[in-house]
Symmetry: D2
Subunit: 283 residues, 4 copies
C-alpha cells in the first residue's frame, strides 16, 4: 500500500474535517487513519490524516499544490504532507555510552524505525565498532581540546552533506550551540535522564538520590535554545527504593532511557507529533 500522511494545525473553525476528508474522497483516496484534536482552551485544531493513494486521481507531484488550495480556505493553516518514501535521513549523535545508540540501531534493524540511518556522529571513538556491526557510517569529531565552535561547524557540515533531516541525541553529553539548534529546529530529539521538569541539568540521578524520590524517569523532548525546556514527546518511569545506590539508578534508568527515546523517535518518524507552543500533540 502507498500512503500519504498529512499533519495540519490551525485556529479552530467549522468545516475543516469535512473539507479535508472530502478532498481525499473526491480524488479517490481511501482514509486509513484519521485522528484530530481540538484544544478548546486555546481554540486550536490539529489533525493527522493518512490515506491510501494507490488509486489516487492525483499523483504525488500534484497532491501538494492541490492540498495547498484546500488549506487556503482556512485561516492560518499550517500543514505538512509526507509520503512513504523516500525515508527520512537520520543521524544519531552519541558520546561514550553505548546503550541508547545500540538500542536505536537494533530497533532500526528490526524494522521499528521507518528511516534511513545515515550517520552516527560521536565525539569519542569507542562506538565505532558498534556502528560498524550495524553497517552504519561512523564519524568522530572530537571535542576535547578543540575549539567548540569549529567542532560544531564540522558537525553541521557533516549533517548537511548527509542531508540529515532528524538528529537524535542518544546520551550525547554536550550542549548544542544556538546555530546548531536553529538549523534543525523541531528536528532534534534529546533524551534527558530525569522526569522533567524535575532534575534539569547535570547528573540527574545524583540529584534524585539526594532528594530521596521513590520513582525515577526519563524524558524525550525536542531541543530548543533553553536547556531541557523543549516540548516533551514521551516520558516513562521506574520505581526505586532506599536500596538503590546511584549505580542502581543509572542501571534502572538506562532501561527507561532506551524505551522512551526509541518511542519518541518512532513517533516522530511516523509523523505522529505536532509541536504547539511548548507542548506536543502526539497522535
Amino acid at each position: 500500500m502507498e500512503t500519504a500522511t498529512l499533519l495540519c494545525s490551525c485556529d479552530d473553525q467549522p468545516g475543516i474535517v469535512a473539507a479535508l476528508t472530502h478532498f481525499v474522497a473526491e480524488y479517490r483516496g481511501n482514509i486509513i487513519d484519521l485522528d484530530q484534536h481540538t484544544d478548546s482552551r486555546e481554540k486550536k485544531f490539529f489533525m493527522r490524516l493518512v490515506w491510501d493513494i494507490g488509486d489516487s486521481a492525483l499523483s504525488r507531484d500534484e497532491l501538494p499544490s492541490a492540498m495547498g488550495m484546500v488549506a487556503k480556505k482556512f485561516v492560518g493553516m499550517k500543514w505538512r504532507l509526507s509520503f512513504d518514501s523516500p525515508l527520512s535521513r537520520v543521524a544519531v549523535m552519541a558520546s561514550k555510552a553505548p546503550h541508547c545508540l545500540a538500542d536505536l540501531l537494533l530497533r532500526h534493524q528490526m524494522g521499528e524505525l521507518p528511516c534511513e540511518m545515515a550517520l552516527v556522529l560521536a565525539n569519542h571513538g569507542n562506538l565505532a565498532d558498534l556502528s560498524r556491526h550495524f553497517k552504519i557510517p561512523f564519524h568522530c569529531v572530537p571535542m576535547d581540546g578543540m575549539d567548540g565552535e569549529r567542532a560544531e561547524a564540522q558537525q553541521m557540515r557533516l549533517l548537511r552533506e548527509n542531508r540529515i533531516e532528524l538528529v537524535v541525541l542518544a546520551r550525547y553529553m554536550r550542549i548544542l550551540g544556538p546555530d546548531f539548534v536553529a538549523g534543525w529546529e523541531g528536528r532534534i530529539i534529546n533524551i534527558h535522564h530525569s522526569f522533567l521538569p524535575a532534575f534539569v541539568g547535570a547528573r540527574p540521578y545524583h540529584q534524585a538520590l539526594a532528594r530521596g524520590v521513590k520513582i525515577i524517569g526519563a524524558t524525550a523532548h525536542y531541543v530548543t535554545a533553553d536547556l531541557d525546556q523543549g516540548p516533551i514527546i514521551a516520558q516513562d518511569i521506574a520505581p526505586v527504593s532506599h536500596r538503590d545506590e546511584v549505580e542502581d539508578l543509572i542501571r534502572k534508568g538506562r532501561d527507561v532511557e532506551r524505551k522512551v527515546l526509541g518511542t519518541a523517535v518512532r513517533l516522530h518518524l511516523e509523523r505522529r507529533v505536532i509541536v504547539s507552543g511548548n507542548r506536543t500533540i502526539v497522535f
Copy 2:
C-alpha cells in the same frame, strides 16, 4: 455546550468519514471530537464523532432520521446517536464488599460519571447505609434460601421499573442467568478480579498465589452467556511479591478493581466503547 455523539461501525468502504463530517457541517454542527479506526485485518470501519449542536439547523428530534438517511448510503452501517441529556440510568449490583460500590458512588458524586445513579441492588443488606449516605435508592433481593429464578425475576422487574440502561456488577458474587444477560446485552459491566484470561472463575487471588505470579490484575468486561469470556473494556495490574499472602493480594487487588471498574463505566457512559465480536474498540 450541547452536543451529539455518534458511534458507528460498518464494513470498510471509501467516503464514510467525508459523508459523515459533511453531514455535520452542512447542518451547521461543529465537530468537537472525531476518532476513527479501520481494522485492516477484518476490513471494518469504526467511528466516534462528537459535535456541537448549539447552532444546528436540525433539532434533536430531526437528527436521528437525517442521520438514518446518511447511514443508508453505506452497506451494513450500525449506528447509535446520543445526546447530553437525559442521562443514562444506571443500577449497581453488589453483594457484601463495599469497596467497588463506594468507589462508584464517590466518582458519581464528584462528577466523573455522566449518569443518573438510579438504584443499588444487593443480595445482602449491609450496604444500605452506604447507599443512603450517597442518597441512592437501595433494594435488597436476598438470594440465600430463595428460589434463584424467582429472585432474578424480581431483580429484572426492579431494573425495568427503574428503566435501567446500564447494569454495573460491583463485585456481585452471583452468576446471572441467561434471561438476565439477554435482557441487558452489551449493557452489563462486570469487574473480574484477575487479569483475564488468567484465573477464570472462583477465587482468582488464591489461584494467583498458588501459581506464584509476580503481578496481579483486574478486568472490566461486558457480561455474556459465557462466564468471564465477554469483551474486555479495561484492565490494570499491581506488582506483588513472595511476601504477599492472600490477604495482601486481596488488599492490593481492591485498588486495581476500583480503578478498572470506574474507568470502564466512565468509558461506557461517555459513549467511547464499541463492541466488535469479542473485542472492544475504546475511543
Copy 3:
C-alpha cells in the same frame, strides 16, 4: 499472635544483627520478619525486626528497658519499640475535597489501616456527613476570616485532647505553622498532587498542563518546615496525553493521590518507615 516491632538505626558497626536477633532468641521470641539496610555511602545501619512475643520470657513492660541495655552496646543507636496494641490514634485533616478522606475512612473500615481513627478535623463543614457515615468524630475549625494563629492553636488543642499520634493531611489546603509542624515532627503525612520535586506549591496540575508533561504524579511525604520538601514516603504516576484538560488531570490525579496517601499511611502505621536526613527507608 502478639508481636513486638523494633525500628532502629545507628552508625554501621559489626555485630548489630547478631546482637539483636540473639536478644530476641534468648528471651524466647520467634522472629517473624527481619529487614535491614546498610547505607554504604553514609555508613549507616537500619533495621526493622518483628517477633512473636506470645511465649516471651519478658513482659511488654520489661522489654523496653531490656532492649535499651542492648542498644547501649552500639554507638548512637536510635530505636523505637511498638506493640500491636494500643493502636495509634490518627487525625485526618481535610478541607472541602472528599476523595482522600473517603478513601482513608473506607480503607480503615476494611481493615487496611491498623489505627484508631480518632478525629476528622476540617476547615469547612461539608465533610461532616461523610465522617458521620463512617462513625468518626468530626470537628470544624473554620479558617476564613479567623485569626490564623488562633485557629491553629485551637486545632492543636483538639489534637492534644484526642492524644493524636499521627496527623494525615488529606488534601488539606492550608500551610501549617512552624509550631504545629514542630509539635508533630515526623508524624504529619501530606499528599502533594505532583511528582515532587516537580511542581512544588500551588496548582500543580495547571503547572503540569502548561509544561506539557506526558505523566502526572502524586507524592506522600512527611511535613517539615520547608513547603513540599520533606522526606518522601511514596510516589506514583498516571499517563496523560494532549487530550487531557486540567479537569482530566485533576480527575486522573485523584486516583493517584488516594492510592499514594493510603499506601504511605499504612506503611507508617505498620512501622515500616525510618526517616534518615531528608530520605526515608521503607521496609
Copy 4:
C-alpha cells in the same frame, strides 16, 4: 570488597537468624545485606545473607564446612554458599530473533550481569555476527532435518565442555527434552512472551489479539518438564489498544521480553532467587 552470599531455606523454627548472624559475627564477618522471609502458611523459612569476608577468620575453603556445622543444627536446612569469584559461566541459547540476545550481551558488556558469558548456542547461523561483535563464542547446532535427540546430545556436550552453570533461553524456539531439563534443573531460565498463566504455548501474541486483552506481558521462569509451568522469576506488562495489530503487539512485546529476561538473569546471578515448590522467593 570480598563477600560471601548464603541462600538457605528450612522449616520454620526458632533461633535461625540468631545462629546464622552469630556465625558470621564470631568469625569477624560484617553483614552487608540480610533479607529473610517466613512463609507462615507453609511454615517455611528463607534467608539471603551477604557478608564482607575481607577480615574473616575463616578462609573461603574453610567457610563451607563451618557453615555445614551450623546448618546441621536446624531440621531440613538446605543452603548454598557462593563467593564473588569465580563468576558463573552462562550460555545463551537463541534461534533467529536478535533482540533478547543483543540485550543480554549489551547488559553484560555494561556490567549489569555478574557472569562470564561463555557461549552463544543457536540453531540458526544469523546471530553469529552479533555474538562476534560482543566477542562471545558462537556455536550453531542446526535442528532442521536433524535427528532431534542427536542434536540435543550435541548441545549438552557443548554446555558440559564449557562448564555452563546457567542456560538462558533468549527466545529459543524449541522445546528442550527431559534429559536436558533434568541436567540443568533450576538453572535454565526461559522468557515466555505472555503474562503466564495466560496464553501458554505457541503464538501468544496472536492469542492475545484474538481475546482482545488491553494489556500484554512477558514472563521469565525456570524451565521444568511441564511447558511454561515452571516457577516464575519476573513478569512485566505493556498496555495495548484496539489499534495494535499483531505486529504492534510483537514490537511492544519485544521491549517487555528484553527487560523481564534481563532482570531475571541478573536476579539469579546475584543469588537472589530461591525456588520453593512452584514459586520463587526473590530477595
